[in-house]
Symmetry: C2
Subunit: 214 residues, 2 copies
């Protein structure tokens, strides 16, 4: 793929990827991050204990409950949720810093997190929903992922069906037929979003300099 670039100073953007589990989102995100130095992953904060092998600041920011609640009350979480007894959330500061430096930030969050983020940062946000090409494919992926009972797979399928109903809340929809094609699609969306007029904050100066010589 020919390299594209935005030569004018620009403001970073927040790229949200959501999907029902099993639709291939995580693989797509990994491919994007591996090939795009301008893009960084948002690292969530959580109050749950680290699992073996998890690295603080890389897999999660591990914080205690008091810290988490303070961050929420001070507006320092872009979105958060409580799952069973644990909090999960997206700290705002690393995102603000990345955007100001002209970097883009990738978010792997669900539709509830996306709804919360949309309220605060509409113009900096582009959201993509990944759909599976067929239910059989989704079932195959969910089954191959773990040796779960048929009952568990059924529950996950029902949950995936619920999650899918939120596609109308997203800017772009990618049906993940083929990984290569879906990665190319998401890359194209990122490239296009970078080329939006309002993101290229250096344009007024750039055009004034051009026009002053005509």
């Amino acid at each position: 793929m020919t390299q594209t670039f935005v030569p004018v100073r620009r403001r970073g953007l927040m790229l949200v990827l959501s999907s029902p589990s099993g639709a291939g989102k995580t693989t797509i995100a990994r491919e994007l991050l591996a090939t795009d130095p301008q893009l960084e992953m948002s690292v969530s904060a959580t109050t749950r204990a680290p699992r073996p092998g998890e690295v603080d600041g890389k897999d999660y920011h591990f914080v205690d409950i008091a810290t988490f609640e303070r961050m929420v009350s001070e507006g320092e979480m872009l979105e958060h949720a409580k799952v069973f007894d644990n909090y999960y959330g997206t700290p705002a500061k690393p995102v603000r810093d990345a955007l100001a430096a002209g970097k883009d930030v990738l978010f792997d969050i669900d539709w509830q997190g996306t709804q919360q983020m949309r309220q605060g940062a509409r113009s900096d946000l582009a959201s993509i929903f990944i759909l599976p090409p067929a239910v059989e494919e989704l079932e195959r992926r969910l089954k191959s992922r773990a040796q779960d009972s048929e009952e568990v797979v059924k529950k996950r399928m029902a949950k995936a069906g619920d999650e899918m109903s939120h596609w109308p809340e997203y800017d772009y929809i990618v049906v993940n037929h083929q990984l290569d094609s879906s990665v190319a699609s998401v890359k194209a969306i990122l490239t296009a979003e970078r080329l939006k007029r309002e993101r290229q904050v250096g344009l007024p100066d750039f055009v004034n300099a051009l026009r002053s010589k005509t």
Copy 2:
């Protein structure tokens, strides 16, 4: 470049390319059309006489003044202008037909045409403004194009400066540093626009079919 595709039935879109002359727009348009079978060029109508070698229906639709004026009064022109004694305009019907068939239509028009088109078809329209990387480059291109006097080149440069002032009216801005990169940028924009939720009109049926099996 990995092929991307939109597997769900979609509505076509209108892609407008504008630029000051000499910024490289025509070359970019030609590259796009040569590699994208889903994209077709809008052919303008004009009342001026065909020049040697021009083909009716390919270079222009050559029509008489009465026909042109009737089309305007019946709303059958998406945009039109009078340049000296000749009319130029974009007939609506071929565009409507292409969009309904899921094809995308490329328009090579100026900022005045774009303004007129924007009024009628906002949601089907994506607009790109191509800027030259530097004024020296623009001047070089304008000079190499024809053996014009310095006076003529000066006038063209001034006109280019005026045209450039309309960049804030466009959705996307591409600075044409390198042709390959600019073509890739415009292709990415086209791909992303095709993946917008509202363009994929087959999605409600597609997701309903998926969900009915979960």
